[in-house]
């Protein structure tokens, strides 16, 4: 059973009340949401629906915007790729910030230290993740301190990303070469063995990592059958009653 987009298991009741009431438009709640974001960063929880509410407050009251919180929200949204959260956050950013960020990918970075610069960097990471260029993703993070700073507030960022990538791999693969997976997960040697065995529960066999079969990676043909509901026949049944015999 899936969960609703607006559901977050760890959301405190006070936040829930604000989200469901008109206080979500009240600029005074900005502080509450900001603290909540900080808390999510610290204890590895995630609540996209609440974060979007904060971005909305920023959208309505640009003077309240805190760049650091905005980038933290975006970085948090990266940790749940490939879900649409990052795009949904981008949709609520001020158009000129995003436009500058996009422009910079062609004509050099915007002024350093600005929100546009941070957004442009996060977008690069997002693109790399979503196009499954995991090795490049790690190179980008390790290659420039700016990137490291952007995700510094997110506790356990690297570990979360590794697990997310492992999930994608487990959906698509039954076996994968060790060197490929090493570069995707950015861990090598005994650490790699440890991660793959202990956390993922996979087995390493020479230069090949074996992933147990699951529902997603077995690639079995199926026949989709039509599901027929009784309601579809409602009109016919009604008709049968109405028609004099």
């Amino acid at each position: 059973m899936g969960v609703a987009f607006d559901y977050a298991p760890e959301r405190p009741e006070s936040i829930d009340t604000i989200l469901n009431g008109l206080d979500r438009y009240n600029p005074e709640t900005t502080g509450v949401f900001q603290e909540y974001v900080a808390q999510q960063c610290a204890d590895q929880t995630y609540d996209c629906y609440a974060n979007l509410a904060l971005l909305k407050l920023y959208q309505f009251n640009p003077h309240l915007t805190r760049d650091e919180t905005t980038t933290n929200i975006l970085a948090k949204a990266l940790t749940v790729f490939p879900s649409p959260d990052f795009s949904l956050c981008l949709s609520l950013l001020p158009p000129h910030i995003y436009a500058q960020a996009k422009l910079s990918q062609q004509s050099g970075p915007p002024a350093s230290g600005t929100l546009a610069e941070a957004v442009s960097h996060l977008c690069i990471l997002h693109t790399q993740l979503n196009s499954a260029q995991y090795a490049e993703f790690w190179n980008t993070i390790d290659g420039d301190d700016l990137y490291a700073d952007l995700v510094a507030d997110i506790q356990g960022f690297e570990e979360i990303m590794r697990v997310r990538i492992a999930v994608v791999v487990s959906q698509c693969m039954q076996e994968v070469q060790r060197d490929v997976l090493e570069s995707w997960l950015n861990v090598r040697g005994s650490k790699f063995d440890n991660f793959v065995r202990e956390i993922c529960g996979w087995s390493v066999d020479g230069s090949v990592v074996k992933i147990p079969l699951n529902k997603e990676n077995e690639a079995r043909g199926t026949v989709v059958r039509e599901s027929v509901k009784f309601e579809q026949f409602g009109r016919m049944v009604k008709r049968a009653y109405e028609q004099p015999a």
């Binding site: 959906q171 690639a219 009109r235």
Partner: protein, 483 residues
């Protein structure tokens, strides 16, 4: 959308000073933070209300009529401001009189027309203001207009529009009523003094739909869908009785789903309403139908985009119409690759709502006033770009049951690593959240593709999901013919 017909705009309410910021209801939303958004409200309505609303029921009827009547095309800025003021007067009167206002509702679709027109004018005013602010440096614009807009940042303010909608919803206790109906109870005990009257009930109800629309226009797609939690999307819903409302609701719900990357759900919405339109168009020859025919084309464009993302079998009537209207574009989008990007852009631009920015434009920095449509387009195109090689990959995989990665990479003229990435991307994209029951934001992750594969090292195993014949629809249709 109501029909934009010739001018019959009547200004029932007298002019009010332009600097008086109008805010329909003070109590609920605005109080705490007016200063922060630059409200200078101070003088409430009670000061100048006597003049505008003292005319008795007849005057009010005229105002109700006016509120549902579109502004003429190219109305002056004064007319736009005046129109805003009279909406505020009207809503203020309805919401803040002592006890419920006791008047007959002109017609069952009147409430929809009012809310629709209110949001339409808000939407077009914001776009217009944005455009003026953006152009002021490049082309010669009317300096006077710029200064009027600059001096009245709160005309058609986003907070006041939201305030009106939320207040109407609260006053009518429509959420409570709808929730009761959903549980199968009688909504009457939950309606309260206001909500039991048709005027409030309908205004409240259509305000919910209005909120869906405004949230979507502001780019908050998840909140837009959340707004409809209490409304059940089916043929029995109240909005389904007003064609334009029915159409608008499905358009915005479908669009929001699309922006949340839930293409299957978006298609379900578009499909439902397009089939409905095509089946009923013979009975709807009048103005109501004309007004939606443009939106109808927009929706087909969105269907084309969604189908390109999520290849699926459409209903026959929809499929034929889609081929007729966007056949060539669809083929090119389904082929994927960089050449498909301009088509996506073109269709998105033609079919998206006119997004707005909630804050007044920055007249000091014209270059900051990027059109919000471009913003949402750019966000959406990221997703398109990310997916553009999926059709190619799929088309090749369909031909094989097992395939060597390097060999396929050779066919596609890319290196093995790139192909591996493409395969991962396509696999992730074929897993979509799809709604099954409950609120619109709920759903399960399902495999939406007709093709599934897994990699064993460099060997790709491909499996196809075959769709069994769909007999029920065919059977029912032919049965209906035999009646």
């Amino acid at each position: 959308m109501s029909v934009r017909r010739a001018p019959t705009y009547q200004q029932a309410a007298p002019e009010r000073p332009a600097d008086d910021d109008s805010d329909a209801e003070e109590e609920a939303l605005a109080n705490d933070y007016k200063e922060q958004v630059g409200y200078q409200d101070g003088q409430g309505y009670d000061l100048d209300r006597s003049g505008s609303l003292g005319g008795g029921p007849q005057d009010l009827q005229a105002q109700l009529q006016a509120a549902a009547t579109p502004l003429e095309y190219g109305a002056t800025i004064e007319a736009k401001t005046q129109s805003y003021d009279s909406y505020c007067n009207l809503f203020h009167f309805i919401l803040n009189s002592e006890g419920p206002v006791d008047i007959e509702v002109p017609s069952y679709y009147w409430a929809w027309d009012v809310i629709d027109e209110f949001i339409y004018q808000f939407n077009s005013f914001c776009s217009y203001r944005q455009r003026i602010a953006f152009q002021q440096s490049t082309t010669s614009v009317n300096e006077e207009e710029v200064s009027v807009l600059r001096d009245n940042p709160n005309t058609w303010g986003c907070y006041s529009v939201l305030n009106v909608l939320y207040s109407l919803i609260q006053r009518s206790q429509i959420s409570e009523q709808l929730a009761a109906r959903k549980r199968g109870e009688d909504p009457a005990p939950y309606a309260g003094e206001y909500g039991s009257r048709p005027l409030y009930q309908m205004l409240g109800y259509f305000s919910v739909i209005g909120l869906l629309r405004v949230h979507c226009l502001l780019g908050d797609f998840s909140l837009a869908l959340k707004t409809l939690d209490d409304i059940e999307l089916n043929k029995k819903a109240m909005f389904a009785r007003v064609m334009a409302a029915n159409f608008t609701t499905y358009y915005y719900v479908g669009f929001s789903y699309m922006m949340m990357h839930r293409y299957a759900d978006a298609l379900r919405m578009f499909n439902h309403i397009l089939i409905y339109v095509s089946r009923t168009k013979n009975f709807q020859k009048g103005a109501q139908y004309d007004s939606i025919s443009k939106q109808n084309d927009q929706m087909y464009a969105l269907v084309a985009i969604c189908v390109a993302f999520y290849p699926t079998r459409l209903d026959d009537t929809i499929h034929t119409a889609l081929r007729e209207k966007y056949g060539e574009q669809l083929t090119r989008m389904q082929r994927g690759g960089p050449e498909s990007l301009p088509i996506f852009e073109e269709l998105f631009r033609a079919a998206c709502p006119k997004f707005i920015s909630p804050t007044p434009p920055d007249f000091e920095n014209p270059q900051h006033n990027i059109d919000p449509v471009e913003h949402q387009l750019a966000v959406f195109m990221e997703e398109v770009k990310n997916n553009m090689y999926s059709p190619t990959v799929r088309s090749y995989l369909k031909l094989y049951t097992t395939m060597d990665l390097t060999k396929l990479a050779g066919f596609l003229e890319v290196d093995a690593d790139t192909l591996r990435n493409w395969l991962l991307v396509n696999k992730q994209r074929s897993r979509q959240v799809r709604h099954s029951e409950g609120g619109l934001l709920e759903g399960d992750i399902v495999n939406s593709a007709d093709l599934d594969y897994a990699m064993q090292g460099d060997l790709i195993h491909v499996a196809e999901a075959k769709v069994g014949r769909r007999l029920v629809d065919w059977y029912l249709r032919n049965l209906a013919r035999a009646y």
